[in-house]
């Protein structure tokens, strides 16, 4: 196991320069170990201690008895979980939001990058890029806040315009049918522009002679796009797609949390929002840790599976 992690971490290494083994690297490099110390402490305290902390998923944790003193209950919480309708509801909501994102959000940066790539006027291209990168730097709180100010039924400008044309006001924010659409639209608005960077970088490496040759051969713009531009970013698309599939249970939880209100709970409640509400607010520590552990384990399996799949298809894996 150690091997693949180190290999992954070394992915961008240059040629390996071997040094002669000098006696006692500890003596020579004690300062390097000292530098490592704060980082190691961070990983141990804030990453590995919580990993050990998941044992409370198998206990009836009581804050008074502590982790060491609480009673063990085996898989009871997991049994409860799978028998619980609410659990399947959050599972379904998570998958549906991910599915919407995959269909409608995932292609957006690719399409934008292809459009940008076709622009000839460089100054115009750079201006468009600067504008569409901007929303990436804005918090989800602001994005959701803007949505409230624009789409709200009391004074929201969109509803005012609808009303001015004699239409009936639409409760965008409190209607379950609009929830996922809104979520995906916000994601496209905020991140699609930023997402073009990786594709534009791949496209910048395409030899312009290919296009010239294609023109001589009589290929129109669409044929050039199809036969030259798209193949150039195919492997990037593929890797990002596989990564997305591996992270299918992650739905951008801060975003969802901010968009949730009691009227859209039936479509918007996902793993983390549920864990936060029932666990941190409701105090069911052991049960919600079991929910979180289930999610983490499925996520781990999916990422490793996706990575294996990537290699299977002859692309370079991520790990």
């Amino acid at each position: 196991m150690n091997d693949w992690a180190a290999k992954a971490a070394d992915a961008a290494d240059g040629p390996l320069i071997r040094r002669k083994k000098r006696g006692g690297t500890l003596r020579m490099d004690w300062d390097l170990y000292l530098l490592l110390l704060p980082g190691l402490l961070f990983f141990i305290i804030f990453k590995y201690v919580p990993m050990w902390g998941v044992v409370i998923a198998f206990q009836e944790y009581s804050p008074f008895k502590g982790i060491l003193g609480s009673d063990w209950v085996g898989l009871q919480h997991f049994a409860k979980l799978f028998a619980y309708d609410k659990f399947w509801e959050i599972f379904r909501n998570t998958l549906l939001i991910s599915f919407y994102n995959l269909i409608f959000f995932f292609p957006a940066p690719i399409i934008l990058a292809l459009l940008l790539n076709e622009l000839r006027h460089q100054l115009f291209k750079r201006s468009i890029q600067t504008i569409i990168y901007l929303p990436h730097f804005i918090s989800w709180v602001v994005v959701v806040g803007m949505t409230y100010l624009l789409l709200g039924t009391q004074g929201g400008i969109v509803n005012e315009i609808i009303a001015a044309f004699g239409g009936e006001k639409v409760a965008f924010l409190t209607t379950p049918e609009y929830f996922r659409t809104l979520l995906v639209s916000q994601s496209v608005w905020k991140e699609a522009g930023w997402g073009t960077i990786i594709f534009l970088a791949a496209l910048s490496g395409v030899d312009t002679q290919l296009y010239e040759a294609a023109i001589v051969d009589g290929a129109g713009r669409w044929r050039q796009l199809w036969h030259i531009t798209l193949p150039a970013i195919r492997s990037t698309i593929f890797i990002l797609l596989i990564l997305r599939l591996g992270n299918i249970l992650d739905v951008g939880f801060e975003h969802v949390f901010l968009m949730l209100n009691s009227t859209v709970m039936s479509v918007g409640d996902v793993f983390e929002t549920y864990v936060y509400r029932e666990g941190l607010i409701g105090g069911k520590f052991s049960y919600t840790t079991a929910v979180g552990l289930f999610k983490s384990l499925v996520g781990l399996a999916l990422v490793l599976g996706a990575n294996w799949l990537t290699k299977k298809f002859g692309e370079e894996g991520v790990f």
């Binding site: 992915a11 390097l32 490592l36 990453k47 902390g53 709180v141 806040g145 100010l149 960077i197 990422v303």
Partner: protein
């Protein structure tokens, strides 16, 4: 190219330019609307309708939010967390990335594995919360800084960046009498400025926009960062603090909300052009495969 573009090709270009202009306008529209409304005089706002240009500039809404101690205090908290948090991030990340970039280091592979593993698997929200609580960080600004001191992704990217620096430079520095730390501060860091600029930007944006950590770890409203206060004002619609001020100044809350959004957004957008020249391209894209 000397080929005369065909009609189809020109139509293609026209459609392309049109689509991109529409997308850019959709991107800019909320900013313009909110900025214009926050600056518009009361009569114009009360008349209703779409405001994209204030008839005259009024700063009343801004005066109101800046005279609100709750809002100003949260802004100060966020500035503090952004400055101190970003410095912490950089120091922790650089200090750990540099030794891990040295292939001779014993235990390096194990440590790298442990770092990468945290990307794949985590203890989850509740156990992390329990750790933060038991080390006494609850209701301190440090709960917004320390639990996220290192991003494992950034660490790996920085380590790879350090490894890309030619080893000969280090050898030369050693011959000139530099030890490990000397090499780090005199050779490696000066050569890594573009990378450091990029990480500074990303960490700083992360801190400025930090929201959920504060929801979890900070229960006292006088320690809330700006994002939590914004949410309370705009999304939960709880404006009791501001209704008083509203009575005095006779400004409708929408303009105050919009002014608050502008105040919470503009500082982080100002950082962007300064660091843009060093941007992502060199550092991040080189490390993301594909």
């Amino acid at each position: 190219m000397h080929y005369k573009p065909s009609l189809g090709s020109r139509l293609f270009d026209a459609a392309n330019v049109a689509i991109l202009i529409v997308f850019s306008l959709v991107t800019l529209f909320p900013f313009l609307y909110i900025l214009a409304t926050s600056l518009a005089p009361l009569q114009q706002v009360l008349r209703g309708g779409l405001i994209l240009w204030p008839e005259e500039v009024t700063w009343d809404a801004y005066r109101t939010i800046f005279s609100n101690t709750h809002f100003v205090r949260s802004l100060m908290t966020t500035v503090f967390v952004t400055v101190v948090g970003t410095l912490t991030n950089l120091v922790f990340t650089v200090f750990m990335a540099y030794p891990l970039a040295k292939k001779r280091l014993k235990g390096r592979r194990t440590m790298l594995f442990l770092v990468v593993f945290t990307i794949l698997f985590s203890g989850g929200m509740i156990p992390t919360y329990m750790v933060v609580k038991s080390v006494g960080l609850m209701n301190t600004v440090w709960s917004l800084i320390l639990p996220g001191a290192i991003s494992a992704f950034n660490l790996i990217i920085m380590k790879n960046f350090f490894q890309g620096i030619p080893e000969e430079l280090e050898e030369a520095a050693r011959i000139d009498g530099c030890k490990n730390l000397g090499v780090l501060f005199r050779i490696v860091l000066p050569l890594s400025m573009p990378a450091l600029a990029t990480f500074t930007l990303f960490y700083a944006v992360g801190h400025w926009n930090q929201f959920f950590a504060a929801v979890m770890y900070i229960t006292k409203s006088n320690l809330w960062p700006i994002q939590v206060v914004l949410r309370q004002m705009i999304i939960e619609g709880s404006t009791q603090d501001f209704e008083v001020a509203m009575g005095e100044l006779n400004i409708i809350p929408a303009t105050i909300k919009m002014a608050a959004i502008i105040v919470a957004t503009v500082p982080i957008l100002l950082v962007y052009p300064f660091l843009q020249k060093h941007f992502a391209k060199g550092v991040l894209l080189g490390s993301v495969k594909g």
